[in-house]
Symmetry: C2
Subunit: 279 residues, 2 copies
């Protein structure tokens, strides 16, 4: 059986076959553009099954419902369009890490993706947990500081308002008075620049609260950090309360599948056809 | 098949049969006392299967691991002692509400128990979620205010430090300068006493943050509030962000099974023998 996994992001459609090739194709920022890229890949690869991961909320009907980085995809039903399994990208990544990455063989795999926003995916007893309407695991919008900093979602004190590329860029600008993108700030942090270290350390404290809260709810045996901001795990471990009342030391590791984790996870889900928990 | 469900709390062992009788027996505060009550009930009822719910953390081996209100039970392995299914009481209550209460037929049932502390239980696709080491769903120890009020667990800013009987009693004393127990404060709140209303409204704001965070993680189709402090749902609904980006209005309801929810849930789990998710 040939399976094709796709991961639709803001600028690229990434694709992966389980034991085979992978690649990425830049898209113009339109639903038509994305759909024609997917159609082309399906015509070329002729898969028996297709899995699609989307950087946004996907409902149980396979429709993209809320996606700040893919506004042009909102309302599109990808399941009907391509007869595919359609899921949130962090959920797909969690399944990929469970099947072939840092979470292999684990009972409860929690993946937290750190980048423009914060996403989450959870695989329980080998089954992806999608929630009652498909939108479980949005840890970026846990409130960890009432009346705290404003979040893009319109509320205050969400985790994303403290730890995300835009939050770190904002805090760096406020501290240093100089505009710099997240990649530059990360580079300066690694080089030990005082302001970059201060801003990222402060943001990491909030991240550790968020992950600690997730551990209290989900009791995973492993937390897998993915995405461009998943650096610096030793520092994070020091901040986290990982011992759960002395019962379990929760392991925390970096993702192993890299930038194709979403596409590969979608391919595995299409291939394995696991029960989607919550449905 | 005869099934007996038991719920071990700080002062009573409650028992329930699925279609039959129920009752409670006061225990002295010792492991020997609790065990002899359970033994007596089993000899009397002669069940084929026994389910035991415990007000504390229970590991996957059936051992009570951490229980502030049942310190004398810590270390006891109830599964080996009685050949029983042993679970946290809030998880048992969630299963009871799923099978015969407010969560009947729902896909993702989240129960939050509000009393001395805050507990949680989650039933996904008909299966209780216990987590990788049996201790999932401890929402009372989500941190919702960094550097906030001290919690009994030794950390700061946990939900329980804001909404729980001890937190409300503390805040009432601080505001009014008069000691009163939670039942008296609740009575005064219902009578409209200014200080009681102020304290409980403030605590409820934090509870709404905690439940909103749980909804972001768990995406339940129903939140069932149980326990002595589960009053005042209309006020709580006004505070909650229940709409999940417009995708789903999450329903919030009071538990229907009352004080025997844990015992009845344990009986249903012993009878149905569902897969325990996370194991």
């Amino acid at each position: 059986m040939r399976t094709l996994g796709l991961d639709i992001g803001g600028t690229f459609v990434k694709w992966a076959e389980i034991e085979g090739e992978r690649g990425k194709i830049r898209t113009n920022r339109s639903a038509e553009g994305v759909i024609s890229v997917i159609r082309g890949l399906i015509e070329e690869k002729k898969p028996d099954r297709v899995g699609i991961a989307v950087a946004g909320l996907v409902d149980l009907e396979g429709r993209v419902r809320h996606s700040p980085n893919l506004r042009w995809m909102e309302g599109i039903n990808l399941r009907d369009e391509f007869d595919a399994v359609v899921l949130n990208d962090a959920t797909a990544a969690a399944y990929g890490e469970y099947r072939a990455g840092a979470g292999r063989g684990r009972k409860v795999v929690l993946t937290v993706t750190l980048g423009t926003g914060i996403g989450g995916g959870l695989v329980i007893s080998g089954m992806p947990f999608v929630g009652a309407s498909g939108v479980a695991l949005e840890p970026g919008h846990m409130i960890i500081n009432p009346n705290g900093k404003p979040c893009n979602c319109g509320r205050r004190g969400c985790l994303e308002a403290y730890f995300s590329s835009y939050a770190i860029e904002r805090d760096y600008f406020e501290l240093k008075g100089e505009k710099a993108g997240i990649e530059e700030i990360t580079k300066r942090y690694r080089a030990g620049e005082r302001e970059a270290v201060e801003v990222i350390r402060a943001a990491t404290k909030y991240l550790s609260i968020g992950i600690s809260n997730l551990i209290m709810i989900v009791n995973p045996d492993i937390v897998v950090l993915a995405g461009g901001l998943a650096f610096d795990i030793p520092d994070l471990e020091d901040l986290l309360n990982l011992d759960l009342f002395g019962i379990q030391r929760t392991e925390i590791r970096k993702a192993e599948l890299g930038e194709y984790s979403g596409a590969l996870g979608a391919a595995f889900i299409a291939s394995d056809n696991p029960r989607l928990l919550g449905t």
